[in-house]
């Protein structure tokens, strides 16, 4: 904490109070989720909600895992990987083209189109998407979730990646060109490695959005074996509404993979997001 050394400022009480209040607001629900998920249904109704269980119990987790959790997890994984990898790849190519050849009329309109895509609440297009998916005979398949997810991810990804490609020194592109490298080669061997932090950021951000997506699965799939995690969470809650520990155990299990990623890639994610949006 700041102390009263000469030339330093007094402690910032307002900031201190706000930050402590926010800490409590964030931590209490999360703490409650975790401890409750280790209670049994009967101890949940009989104990103080903020006291940890005296005998931690895994029944709730067992019930969730026996309810096809692994299948939903796999579905989420397929949809997320299947959408994020193509989305980031095509976005990177487009961002490269826009930065390197942005004076052309075609690329200027492409850029404009993606920027418009940012201002439009894309959820408003779900009814025609539903129609298109039906007409393509893709209804109730994982591909039905992947295709629109790619499209939704493109505008913001292109914007952030273009911002970073723009920062690559022009001399480097020039020397690649003098060495006779093609644009395709320059893209993958120069621009891609030099903007890796941005690529990681965009990948993680899109993965998070798609992993947590709810509306597209809700309207484009139907059968239990096509469920992704957020949807499974919702139907699980409807099914076991009185078994709060089980519902919260499913919340923990769906968040766990993201939490692991966060712990591993926290610095990259936070600094990338700051740079991507804070510019």
């Amino acid at each position: 904490m700041a102390t009263r050394t000469p030339g330093r400022e007094r402690p910032n009480w307002v900031a201190g109070a706000v930050s402590l209040a926010w800490l409590a607001i964030v931590v209490i629900p999360i703490y409650w989720i975790v401890i409750t998920s280790f209670k049994t249904q009967s101890t949940y109704y009989a104990t103080n909600p903020l006291t940890p269980p005296t005998e931690p119990n895994l029944d709730a987790y067992r019930l969730v895992i026996e309810s096809d959790f692994v299948l939903y997890f796999a579905n989420s994984l397929i949809v997320t990987a299947g959408a994020v990898i193509p989305a980031v790849t095509v976005s990177f190519m487009a961002a490269y083209a826009i930065v390197r050849g942005g004076n052309g009329r075609f690329l200027r309109s492409v850029n404009w189109l993606f920027l418009m895509g940012l201002a439009i609440p894309l959820q408003a297009t779900v009814i025609p998407i539903y129609l298109i998916i039906i007409r393509l005979s893709l209804y109730d398949s994982l591909l039905a979730l992947i295709l629109p997810s790619i499209a939704f991810a493109i505008p913001l990804s292109v914007l952030i990646l273009a911002n970073f490609i723009r920062d690559v020194p022009k001399e480097l592109f020039e020397s690649m060109r003098l060495d006779g490298a093609s644009e395709w080669g320059t893209l993958w061997r120069l621009a891609f490695p030099l903007t890796r932090p941005a690529v990681v950021t965009v990948t993680v951000y899109n993965a998070l959005t798609i992993w947590n997506g709810f509306l597209l699965p809700l309207i484009l799939t139907q059968s239990p074996d096509k469920r992704v995690l957020p949807l499974a969470l919702w139907s699980f809650q409807g099914q076991y509404s009185i078994n709060v520990p089980a519902v919260l155990a499913s919340v923990v299990l769906t968040t766990l993979p993201i939490l692991v990623l966060y712990v591993v890639g926290r610095r990259q994610l936070l600094s990338g997001l700051t740079a991507g949006f804070g510019k």
Binding site: N48, V126, L147, L159, N212, V251, L270, G278
Partner: protein, 293 residues
């Protein structure tokens, strides 16, 4: 732009993104306008019915109500989130070690899905078995989701809980780009902390405020998941925002025509707001890159 001599040969690189965004972004956008002039139950044939759906929706008192609720959610959640995000972001911009540790915890709500958050709060706020009852605190043991005004407050609180971390992250980035020298100069002039905050930090964060507000305001039009799971628009229709209204008309009442009308209105509101915010932000500094400057 360094004007490389191969402009033409680059365009094809943008084609895959363009095709995908075209097929599942632009076509549906045009499609929703077309569908708003039809009647369709979601399964059978689509019939053109001209302005019938528009007339039905515009005469329905549910529309002004949904618009009003959407506006309230947008305005109140902006008013709650923006000051809190600025304060937290500026606070976290400091490089002290304990602030770095705090930020790890602060950003955890970013990771949870709206469905998970809504489910958690539904159980946490249960008047009989939730936090209030367990702690014996009358004031927390209210019928949070059963009273219209309380349910609205809960939606605002949960939205803030979910999104303040993201916006404080944006402000943290913005605040770190303010040159130290500006503060040092102000200190020499004897400016106190509050003075520095209002005459340096806030004005310097102008473009960050525009970026964050745009994301917040346009984003608030799509608070579907959270409200759907938390209140399903209730009690009654107290929290029935436009996006929820669209879903209920389309996928529950099987009236895709009127639902498309709502969707078109949603798009128009989003565009109007984005343009307005861009105007307010003074347009096109290189700092507001998100706005496409």
């Amino acid at each position: 732009m360094s004007a490389p001599p191969r402009h033409g040969s680059l365009a094809w690189l943008a084609v895959p993104a363009l095709l995908l965004f075209g097929a599942f972004g632009v076509v549906p956008l045009v499609g929703v306008l077309v569908l708003s002039f039809t009647s369709w139950d979601g399964l059978g044939d689509i019939h053109f019915t001209g302005l019938e759906s528009w007339a039905a929706v515009l005469a329905d008192p549910g529309l002004p109500h949904a618009l009003w609720v959407t506006f309230l959610v947008m305005a109140v959640s902006w008013l709650v989130q923006t000051p809190a995000s600025i304060l937290l972001g500026v606070f976290l911009a400091g490089h002290q070690r304990y602030r770095a540790v705090l930020s790890v915890v602060y950003f955890v709500p970013l990771l949870l899905s709206s469905a998970a958050i809504a489910i958690t709060y539904k159980a946490l706020l249960d008047p009989n078995f939730g936090l209030g009852a367990g702690l014996g605190l009358e004031i927390l043991a209210q019928d949070w989701l059963g009273e219209p005004a309380l349910a609205f407050g809960v939606v605002i609180f949960v939205v803030s809980w979910q999104f303040i971390p993201f916006h404080s992250l944006i402000y943290q980035g913005g605040a770190r780009q303010i040159p130290r020298s500006m503060y040092e100069a102000a200190e020499l002039d004897g400016a106190g902390r509050i003075r520095k905050f209002f005459s340096i930090t806030l004005p310097q964060l102008k473009y960050t405020i525009v970026t964050s507000s745009t994301l917040m305001v346009v984003g608030s039009l799509t608070f579907f998941d959270l409200i759907f799971v938390l209140t399903a628009g209730g009690p009654g229709d107290a929290t029935r925002v436009l996006a929820l209204d669209m879903y209920k008309r389309g996928f529950q009442a099987n009236l895709m025509g009127p639902a498309s009308v709502i969707a078109v209105i949603l798009v128009l509101v989003g565009l109007a707001l984005a343009l307005l915010l861009r105007r307010l932000g003074g347009g096109t500094g290189s700092d507001s890159r998100l706005e496409g400057a």
